[in-house]
Symmetry: C2
Subunit: 335 residues, 2 copies
Amino acid sequence: MKINKQILLAKRPESVPDASTFKMVESQMPVPKENEVLVRTHYLSVDPYMRGRMKNIKSYAEPFQIGKPLTGDSIGEVILSKHPDFSIGEMVIGTFDWAEYSLRDGSELSKINLNEAPITTHLHVTGMTGLTAYFGLLDIGKPKPGETVVVSGAAGAVGMVVGQIAKIKGCRVVGIAGSDEKLKYLKDELGFDDIMNYKKVQDIYQELDRLCPNGIDVYYDNVGGEITDAAISLLNFHGRVPLCGQISMLNSENSEKGPRLFTHVIRRSILLKGFIYSDYQDRFEEGRQALAEWLMEGKIKYKETIVEGLENAPDALLGLFRGDNLGKQLVRLGE
Amino acid sequence: MKINKQILLAKRPESVPDASTFKMVESQMPVPKENEVLVRTHYLSVDPYMRGRMKNIKSYAEPFQIGKPLTGDSIGEVILSKHPDFSIGEMVIGTFDWAEYSLRDGSELSKINLNEAPITTHLHVTGMTGLTAYFGLLDIGKPKPGETVVVSGAAGAVGMVVGQIAKIKGCRVVGIAGSDEKLKYLKDELGFDDIMNYKKVQDIYQELDRLCPNGIDVYYDNVGGEITDAAISLLNFHGRVPLCGQISMLNSENSEKGPRLFTHVIRRSILLKGFIYSDYQDRFEEGRQALAEWLMEGKIKYKETIVEGLENAPDALLGLFRGDNLGKQLVRLGE
């Protein structure tokens, strides 16, 4: 009997998750029924929103269930198939379990075109995080040439793509992150115009003000908290804020307080819009094509932080909140 | 020599303005030069945003200057004219001084069609507050039939029109205000579906939750603060928030703190948009026509609170923050 290793949610974390949040178990390898496909995982995507799914809160994604495997965007290989569209050996993308093997209905899987781009980019630049950057920046942010775009969480998988699309659109781009090494990469390799290490500045507002002498037109928010307070306060008339993530808030239970900013939001006719990439489901093809083209032309570069082995996936997730990753965090599973 | 009474800004208030904020003076009656018109004020509009203009802060409207007259939307009669388009005796609307007489360039004035609607409605239903309601609700709120629309400051000049337009659009409307008498008017006369006296409830969030069993789709915000925190927390997926005013915040200097709500805003893909009616300048005619039609058809009713005499204008403004007014607050100046 073949064994399948899985990572389950052991309990809901109260604040910062730790090793006790997860449990690795061995179970029996599942067998596909009619229309089902068994896939072996090659890559797991590790994303900040997964922390949100550990809470028992109604949101765009269903909460993870205690005692059940975590799930996430993944790439794998078809091992057994009872679905007419899939054959053994084909590479597919879908929402798999955090496990060596997952059983899925064929309708939940998509085949990957291996000639298009490096296979892992389907999990970021041309996948969820790239589409998140694309639609948030272009549909909500609507950047115009010459405008100032500030992006927080700039060295993450979403932030890096946001900054590079803003450069493609002719904007001045300021990236905010928490490590000099990451910021150097953004400036030297990705063409960001300026950078700010929020951990090293005395006063976030004053430093951001200095870096944005013409004010801010678009603030793409991945982090929330004090950085966001400062950026919103510096927005120009008709400024726009795609609200994508609040990583600084993810491990708190909404008890944090901050300054009330709506008077300023009204004075400046500012737009704030929360969103999730799936709001744009009917435009995915447009986004994927544009991103793939920019990737091929070298206009969008990327970084991946890859850890090896399913057993290290929990720590890779915890690492997102420690700021360990540069670019996209992935887990690779061996044979 | 004829005398002109004026109300000046005596000093910038630190928190709540009081009598010492204003100064009434007598000056010489001005005389029109080429293209200028001298108007005698009949009605002054008294609006919450005027408190904002007492602060020395860059905003959509210029700050009032110490030692200069306050100004605001007004209706008056042409007394002297050196502008070819205006004749003595004509009724005009414009931004006049808080004064018996104002001198204006003819280009700053518009004639009033006296056959269209009661003259004072040009200062509210078909004027600034009506247009504020119209564009905020329809362009930002985009209410659909059957949706739940909540409006705060519901018994003010903007709020009353918001609620009635939402009813015209087939929505369920819940109005929030601070007086049972006002709320009774909204429910009995204006057709609001439900009402909440925020001063009398134990827990604003719980009561609003009870009044909105299907959640909130559009929250039209005139007040800010705790009411707004509760309403945003109850918004449905793709909820929309026209941010029109923050009257609860107007007398504080932005030092207030509140819960951080952006995690919820992201989870529900919520839109928040600050605005001022003049953002829609190129669509004023559309708005005016729709509002005038609804007014004529009796689909929009209104209330005015009118005080007599220029000397009572300062207290009428202070009354807005005490919640004295039902509907539009006006000052009438006699001969």
